[in-house]
Each structure stands twice: as structure tokens, then as C-alpha cells.
Symmetry: C2
Subunit: 235 residues, 2 copies
Amino acid sequence: MAYELYYWPTIQGRGEFVRLAFEAAGADYVDISRQDDGEAMMALMQEAAMPPFAPPFVRLGDRTVGQVSAILAWLGPRLGLAPDDPADRAWLDQIQLTFADLVAEVHDTHHPVDMTAYYDDQKPEAARRARAFRDHRIPKFLGWAEQVLARNPSGPTWLVGESLTYADLSLFQVVEGLIYAFPKAAARTLKTTPKVAALSDRVAALPRIRAYLDSPRRIPFNEDGIFRRYPELDG
Amino acid sequence: MAYELYYWPTIQGRGEFVRLAFEAAGADYVDISRQDDGEAMMALMQEAAMPPFAPPFVRLGDRTVGQVSAILAWLGPRLGLAPDDPADRAWLDQIQLTFADLVAEVHDTHHPVDMTAYYDDQKPEAARRARAFRDHRIPKFLGWAEQVLARNPSGPTWLVGESLTYADLSLFQVVEGLIYAFPKAAARTLKTTPKVAALSDRVAALPRIRAYLDSPRRIPFNEDGIFRRYPELDG
């Protein structure tokens, strides 16, 4: 039985953290909304006994799970992308939750005051938010990830233990997204976080991830997603 | 051995979601920073092998867990505040994660463009963000919680199953916080979400929670916390 992924069909967005896990594991999954333009997704959100607050969510049989961190905590062990030890799994979950916080802040750089309005309607506010994000938050988040790698008792190859986990895939996606949206600011910070930069390169070189990135399944970054390139917000 | 809670000593903030779980369960815990003004907390964040990104975090023996949702996913079963069934636990986690998203948005109503600056330095932006939050997000979040209660196969007494869980405590805290910060807007929405309002009253009436709320351990809401009463942001 294939996993069903429900997410917006034209953006990477938060769905990408789940796609990367499926792709890295070579799992059998269907990206539902890219076939029906979101119809089944909207119906499920209306009717489910356990209604997801928002996409993405994943269905397998009669099980539906929303919220990226919860999805990955569920899928991780099933896909071989989580450690066996419960304490390590809780640590993995904390790392993923921290990346989720970063993603929410990235969204707010272009929608700081009204998520129901357009970016064009909040450009001065976005400029201010983006400056604070570039100056304080990118260094803080990536600096923390660098420490997590440096303190891993198994060495700095992966974030948790000695094997690839879904958090490594997510950190790759965060780095890629920051480089897309804030090329100058991201490059500046990445010079100071060499272990993070190396991990991101390592993920990109995984054969299944490489094949995915080169395929039409990988939606290009664009200005409807979470990571958006508005040159006036970089610096 | 007592649980150690590490959080800022003068606000409810995100630490309150953890305090409420300890209090509801009658657990043995120490609110460390209220004794040493944050010294041990800062030291632990610097030195821990698994460094929390931010407070709150909880320590028990050699285990340290950060991120509210991860803390509660760990403590819930230990404190009798989570269901036994793994699918129900994953659902509980999703609900908690959704409340965590709401809490982040509440913070942004008074700090929409620069979390390192004061509210006074971003009042016009805050007014705009708060309006969107009142008009769109409070109804969406509480309306969703109302549906979760309405669709619970065990009835609308609690969010998950037929017993109190940590998500019920968190929803109580969210409702209390919204009533404090946005008394007009919260009252307007709560009229349309009677099951949410009733659950919040039910939690407040639990003997241990009642005793806690009446004790000096409950820090009053204030304008250094996440839920802040700035009358100009309500309406």
C-alpha cells in the first residue's frame, strides 16, 4: 500500500520535508494533489475524524497524520530514518521541531503582519523583519545546528547518531531554501558553520536524493512557497 | 527524583504548558530558575551534549528534553496525561503542535517585525498583525479545536479519548491567555465555540489545577510574557 501525501501541488513548502523522507528511503508514495489539484485534500480536511489543521498530511490505510514534525516522528522509524534508542528519537524530534520554528520564521519574512494579504501589501514591514532574521536568526539557528553536529558523540557526519535521519534531510532543505531566498546572508553564515555546509552537501550527494533533485518530482523553489527570493529582503 | 523545569523565572510563557502538566499530575518538580534566577539554565544551554535551542527544557537524571511539544510527548505517558494507543498519542501530538503554532502567532502580535526590539518600537506593525490575528486566526484555531471536540468518538468532554490529556491543559492555557490579551476578540470567538469554552472551565475546576492557580506558583500574566494585554491590540 502506498503512502498518500496531501499538500499544495505547486510549491515545495512544508510538504518538501516529507517528500525528502519518502525519496531518501525509496518509499512508495503518491503526491495526491499533483494529480487532482487539491480536491481530495480539501475534502479530507473537511471530513476527517481527526481533522488536520493544515496541509501537509499523510494517509496510510485509515491513519491520517498532520503536522510535519508529527508526520516525521511517525514515518522516521518506518522508513529507516530514525535511531532505535528512545532518547535519541526524542532528541531527533527536538531538532526537527527547531527546524520547524525556523521555517515559520522564514515564512514571516515575507508575511510579517498579515498572512492573508500579499507580500506587495507589506513590503516595508517585510524589509524590517527580514533584516532582523538575517542578522540574528540565521546565525542563531545554523550556529546551533553546528553545535549539535560538533557535540554528536558519533562524530559530525550526521545530526543524531551515526546514520542518516530525517533531520539531516530537513537541514539540507533549510540550507537550500536559505541559499535560494537569502543568497548573501546564507553564504555569510555558512562560512562560519562548515559542518552544516558539509552535511548539506553530503545529503545532496545521496544517490536517491540526487535522482530526486534532478527529476520533475522536485518542484523548483518559487515565489508562492515559503522560501522566496525577493532580492530586496537579502543583504 | 524530582523533575527539574528550566524556564525564565518571571513569566508564564511556554514554560506554563509544562508547569500545568506537572501540577495536574501532582508530580514532584522544581522550577529551577525561580530559585537561582536562571543561572543553571544558561549554564546547561551552553554545555549540554544535546543543547536545547531555547527554554523551556526539563531534566530528569541525565536526560534533558527541550521544545514544549517534545517535552509533553515524553512526560505525558509518565504523568498519566496521554492515552495508551499509539495512534491516539500521535493525534495528541498533532493537537499540541497546532497549539504551539498558535502560541508562536500570539508572540508575533506584539513582536511582528523584530523579536530583538521592544514592542514600543513596532507598534504600527503590531496593530496590523494583531488585527489579522483577531479576525482570522483566533476563529480558525478555536474553531478547529471545537471540531476536534465535536468529532471525538468518546464525546466532547476532552480533546482525545475519554480522559484528561496534556492537550486539554494546553487548550485551557491558550483560552486563558487569549482572554487576558484580547478580551473582546476572545469573548466574540468563544461564543461560537461552546465546547472549547466548557473544556476550559472544566480544566480550571480540576482540584489540583484550582489549587495551583490560587497559589504563588502561578505567575500572573504580565507584559513580559507571550500573552500581553495591550488594549490597542484588541478590538
